[in-house]
Amino acid sequence: MNTGKGMGFFFDPQSIAIIGASPTPGKASHVILDNLRRTGYNGSIYPVNPKYDHIDGMKCYASIADIGKQVDVAIFVLPASKVMEILGGPVENVRGAIIISSGFREVEKGELLEEELKRIAEEKCIRIIGPNCLGIYDAIYGVDTFLVPVEQVKRPKKGGLSILTQSGSFAVLIMDEMATEGIGVARIVSYGNKVDVDEADCLDLLAEDEATRYVLLYIESVENGREFVEAASRCAAKKPVVAIKVGRGEAGMHAARSHTGALGGKYEIYRAAFRKAGIIEVDGYEDLKDACRVLEAYNIVDGNKVLIITDGGGIGVSMADACEDLGLDVRRLSQDSKKRLSSKLPAFSATDNPIDLTASAKDDDYFTALEEGFLNGYDLAIVTVLWGAPALSTRVIDGISEVQNRYNKPVLICSPGGEFTRNKYRLFEEKGMPVFSTPEAGVRAAAVLIGKGTVRDNMSKGAGPWI
């Protein structure tokens, strides 16, 4: 992996040095050392600290120069002034640095220090991630520079999701959540103050990364807006890119001298940028998690037609409402389809869209309805299973999964309810079908697969980014 303006080595480094390594358990630098070894990183690890000869049985070097070999990534967990001092010295053998230390732009008077850091990096041709960041978690090559103990924050398994975030705490939180949800992760980059590597570099890298199937962006602010839009467009053309924007309440972009200024805030411009790039925007953490769950299970679809199947009329209607709000197409079934369904389904069923199987629904009715819908060109289905229907058995889960596999079109399960219902979630998810406990969440997840929301423009061009 060596794209993204020559920063690919951060993810598969041959050698990692920990500057300021410590033998003391619980200290940040020791946590990192532990994590690197535990994640299964199999390149060279060089602890650096003039105070020690050995740490945990590993040779410890007095300085970076003493290592005498190329260091792909030097991890700095030292006070900012110390970082500057070391980078100012002999570091010719360092390709890249992850500066975890804070005390730069984010603090008073830290801005000058950060400018100096930028200058040194350029002069010495060292790529920098950070400062004020957690660095990299790479499940593919087993790189883990996050200074959070594994006992407290679980690491996700290997998978197709890559996450780019300014916020370190978000990186930790989402990593823990993804591990708990069972969602696999390829690469997480917490890039903090972005003195060098920024989201555009990372997006370019992930666009070409075969291990990354979809990308999640956590955005506080973007400085080089146009570069970001261009890199995000390139990435979104190849794989879904989902973003959450925080800090929306920024003051308007100009004094209220004219409407153009008065009517828009900075957030509107971010949204415009997301649209331009073909990024799917999600609203809040809950949606973010749901988006990941649904993208984990399925690929983006290239149509807009949603079939709703339910065994409760009311919930079907609220789902149809939610679909309309998000611009999803809940078109009716054809006359032929309706006729065929009427002859097969229970007498009181509504054979429209939503197809309401009513509380007399039997397992087979679900399969019949789903199959008819997929045969008639619906792009995805949201299937509501309310376990109150007396004739339903867990066989319905296998059957829905079977139809889903046969047509290879997404089926999202919406199943609100109490204890009995919740105990069934796992059975659906074992079959690879994500379950949502509210109709709105199910529909929003469907909208993600349809690329709705901020990417409507691209979709309407018939050239949606990933189509």
């Binding site: 400085e223 807006g225 146009r226 972009m253 009517l263 331009k276 061009k461």
Partner: protein, 237 residues
């Protein structure tokens, strides 16, 4: 378009130390992109008794031209429904008086005498330059409700026709454009074309920080830029 005209308008304003164009200048600028503006005559301070109005048809609307007045209506700087030259002369006298009272510091450069245009569906088209993302376009429903409802949509410039159309569809007020309660649908093709032209202006003319056509009247067959405002980048920025 004639970029020489555009350059000379902008240079002239900058030389005079103005950070905005007069309405007349802004309209001349957008008409270089063939955005329709009402027929008009510029009346300079002292020459009003001899206005030649052969080129425009009544009824007229009179607007003050002043570097110090950005919101003309608030100071009595707009008088409409003028049928003939006597009306115009009286209106000029009244307007001078009102402005002396409401905005005593304002320097009056002249008066813009325009053909009155029939009311259409009011929309706003704006372009602005964002420090991070560069040129940005805004489209919104206009009229008195606009500030209350903030029914606007944003896109990065430059944009194409489908993006322009999508901006309209974003609005809650979209039915006003497609025909609502018996009103005829407006010319959305023309609207899209004006959005793209303003996008072209804000993208190409770096001296412009903000441009706005407000209101733009949209009709069944065509559009008309009733008012236009251009704010220039300040030198020290």
């Amino acid at each position: 378009m004639d970029l020489k005209v555009v350059d000379s308008i902008i240079n002239n304003a900058q030389n005079e130390g103005r950070d905005h164009l007069f309405e007349t200048e802004a309209k001349t600028l957008i008409s270089q992109w063939d955005i329709p503006v009402p027929g008009s005559v510029l009346v300079k301070g002292s020459e009003f008794p001899d206005i030649s109005v052969d080129s425009i048809e009544p009824p007229f609307i009179l607007k003050v031209v002043s570097r110090n007045i950005l919101h003309k209506t608030e100071v009595g700087g707009v008088i409409s429904d003028l049928g003939d030259m006597d009306d115009v002369r009286n209106a000029i006298i009244r307007m001078k008086k009102d402005i002396e009272k409401n905005a005593p510091q304002a320097r009056i450069e002249g008066f813009l005498l325009e053909e009155f245009v029939p009311v259409g569906v009011e929309v706003i088209i704006g372009g602005t330059r964002d420090p991070q993302f560069g040129p940005v376009m805004m489209f919104g429903t206009g009229g008195v409700m606009v500030e209350l409802m903030k029914d606007v949509s944003f896109r990065l410039a430059p944009l194409d026709k489908s993006e322009s159309m999508a901006m309209m569809e974003d609005l809650r007020g979209y039915p006003l454009l497609t025909g609502y309660r018996g009103s005829k649908p407006v010319d959305r093709e023309q609207l899209a074309s004006v959005i793209m032209k303003v996008s072209d202006i804000i993208t190409k003319i770096k001296e412009i920080r903000e441009i706005e056509i407000n209101p733009l009247f949209a009709y069944e067959d065509g559009v008309m830029a009733v008012d236009a405002r251009v704010i220039l980048e300040l030198e020290e920025r």
